[in-house]
Amino acid sequence: MSLIQSGFIYWFFVVLLMIGMYGAVGKDNLVKKLIGLSIFQTAIILFYVSIGFKNGPATIPILQGGHGEPIKDIAAASYFNPVPHVLMLTAIVVGVATVGVALAVIQRLYAEYGTLEENEILDKIANS
């Protein structure tokens, strides 16, 4: 089956994505939603980094022998694709920033309503 042929490795990221999506949408507790969101973003980071992997004698994209001796004979097949790593550095930072802002909002929500369950907050809003 072609799904298994191309790499069941992609299934990991799909399962993580599903877990993250379920947490972000299905849970009532605000912090659990945030954790689900974080798992969701991490799954995407995993996916991108897996794009850059190369079989065979390939290692991380830092040229060997960088200290001192002049570097020669750089073969593209002996280093991972560096571009997904670069992109994911940005994505990680964006994820951290979003989690930070969401935590600040959650703190204010707790100070305002005294609870972190979304249904209870909605009840308090409806009754106020």
């Binding site: 994505l17 999506m21 972000a24 949408v25 605000l30 939603k33 945030l34 969101l37 969701f40 973003q41 995407i44 996916f47 991108y48 794009i51 571009v83 997904p84 992109l87 940005t90 994505a91 964006v94 920033a97 979003t98 802002v101 969401a102 600040a104 909002v105 959650i106 204010r108 929500l109 305002e112 907050i121 909605l122 809003i125």
Partner: protein
Amino acid sequence: MSDQLIILAIIYPLFVGVVTSLMPCRERLLAIWGMVHLALANLLSLGLLVQTLTEHQVTYHLSGWAPPLGIELRATVFSGLISWLISAVALVGFIGGRDTWKDQVGERLPHFLALFFLLVAAFQGLCLSNDAFNLYVMLEISSLATYGLIAFGGGRAYLATFHYIVMGTIGASFYLIGVGYLYIKTGTLNISDLAQILAGVPWTEAYILALGFLIIGLLLKMAVFPLHLWLPNAYTYAPDATSILVAPLSTKLAVFLMFRVMFDIFGGVIDDNIPSWSLFMVLLASFGILAGTSLSLAQRDLKKIFACLIVAEAGYMLGGLWLHDPRGNVGALFHLVNDAVATLVLFLVVVAVQESVGGRNLGHLSGLFRKSPLTAAALIVVAFNLIGVPPFAGFFSKATLITGAIASGRLEFVVALLLASLGNLVIFFRILERAYFPSEEPFEEKWTRSKRGDVLGALALCIGLFLIVLGLQSNTIMDLFIRPVVPL
């Protein structure tokens, strides 16, 4: 110098924003500082617009590296127009929101304005960048700045912001998944390169799903029904100075991004390859228009009425983009410009009404005609525009959309558009009736009326009259700016 205009349009607001966070909290100083810099940003964008008209397309290689090695910026005539629109709306929004600073912002003004400028810079970047991943970063900066600006409102804004964070991040992440699927199949992130590759390959599942995820992510950002749940609360409970900037631009830029995905990346031939999607999208858009209008009818808070109208307007543009006929696409893009200006007027009116009559519920509006006739006139003008009365721009955009829909055979879209006009008529009739006739219920008069309401009303009226200009010149504008970028 002129070839640096495109980068300065993005960098200038960014730099000003970063420096603004270091400034002392003096209201007058910051007001003048902001206005001067936004005026200069306007000049830069205007220069860029003129440049795109003369050179037809402006590209810029960042860091000196040619794409796809480096990141590229690209401006077409339409992006030049949107870039100027962003600066102009920011300037007007800044002036309009200034009166609310004392009550709603207070001591945190430098940081608030820093986020304001960063948001403008991110919008410019969204408009001008030609790299798919760079667009994601711009999307996230605009989202983060918006979260901060909206949450600052306090009270119910906190829950609204949290919902916005969850839905907005899921949307941006779907966009990122789409870009990832495209990258793994093509190996490039540059939009022009992607277009070239996609033009020559058969669209297998990965490509179709990439398009699907890009679209769903952008639908979340555009707040199309049923993914609109975050928008009404977020825009209503935000501070007024925020919603004047965010409401006219944020969803419209997501529409522009969808246009770029559909036409710049996938070449505008989606209908030929996957015809069923167009069917579904136009149907969804029609439902969205009706849902947004009905949501609007059920509200009593003026700001929330206008926020729900944004959901309906997103439906117009989504449907227009997915129609087969190029007239539908042209109509959608013209409606983008028209709606940005109209939403600006609507939210200016909200601030003006609050200054004039002290509240923004329908019940507070009584006597608005007497107290601030200019604000009421602005309300009438924008009502005509939204209902679609000639010579306002709203009529021409609706007419183009309807022509395109009939030519494509999508009558449900025509019906939705006409029903929406009727719905808008009812909504604004209710508002204006309340404003005209003094109501019997007494409410506290201990609040004093401020003259600033008149000034804001006058400003809103001027922008509203600009809508007439937009309408009368609609054909010229469409020929100059829109038809060149839409494939026939």
